[in-house]
Amino acid sequence: MLTTLHKQLLNDYQHDFPLSARPYRDIADALGVTEAEVLSAFTELNDNNFISRIGPVIPPNHIGVSALLAMSVPEQQLQTVADKISAYPEVNHNYEREHRLNLWFVVIAADAEHLRAVIEAIELDTSYPAMLLPMLDDFFIDLGFKLELNHD
């Protein structure tokens, strides 16, 4: 059950988390609660997986290079192929999607050469070609995502 404080923290602190010595105390002061209440509310959100973390969000391709890849894999082999791909530390997202191209994953590498090597290794390892979909442009201005939490 989300309290008013949980909802405020979720909606108001997706960005502009204070860069100060006692950030949780500064948030507490802004919301009129105690630092301990803010810390325990964030801990509850974290422990219950309502947030994945508090921290810096880095746009793609600012540190290292990344690419989205899509593969078409027969249903009966999907899990095996997906497991092989997920085992690469350079793979950070791997989703099954309802489409002829049914496996979608993101590879992040230190540089273009490393990225190409990982993709080649994955293709060899799985025997399926991967369609390369690097980001050409990012149109998203990330100000956080407005959550409707009133009915929770």
Partner: protein
């Protein structure tokens, strides 16, 4: 440009800032730096756009946004910048990217992730994007994720 210390700070904060009263001090101690230096470097990286934002990263799925669609659109190249920016500003779009086509099997060059608490909500969001693109929409598809097979490792906003 990032130096080695900046990279270490990014790496140390990717799993999340510690939930302790002085989180930057905790990170600084791990790296043999001062808290002031950590905060100064994070501020500089935010100002230069290397860090997009610092804050809580909500888990949409857990918060009730169970219906997520990857919408893909075929938009004429000459208008993709203008239209991509408009789509990226819609409040229900969480990522919006220009990616290459692979003809003939993949004609789509604009990707927008949408999130809703219901299928009807997603349908409505797709319609709103279609309305915005109007006659520049030369074809679209929506790919729903049936299974999250991996979501870990280094976190960027991809």
């Amino acid at each position: 440009m990032l130096d080695e210390t900046d990279r270490k700070i990014i790496q140390a904060t990717q799993a999340g800032l510690p939930l302790t009263p002085e989180p930057y001090q905790t990170i600084a101690e791990q790296l043999g730096l001062t808290a002031d230096n950590v905060m100064m470097r994070l501020t500089a990286m935010q100002n230069s756009g290397i860090i997009r934002r610092i804050g809580a990263v909500p888990n949409h799925y857990k918060l009730g946004y169970r219906f997520n669609g990857m919408t893909v659109w075929n938009i004429p190249d000459e208008v993709i910048d203008e239209l991509g920016q408009k789509v990226g500003q819609l409040e229900f779009v969480s990522h919006c990217y220009h990616r290459p086509r692979h003809l003939p099997e993949w004609p789509y060059n604009l990707f927008a992730m949408v999130h809703s608490k219901s299928q009807e909500g997603v349908d409505e969001q797709i319609q709103r994007i279609a309305d915005l693109l109007s006659s520049y929409n030369q074809g679209c598809d929506v790919l729903y994720s049936s299974k999250i097979l991996k979501k870990t490792g280094f976190r960027t906003s991809t």
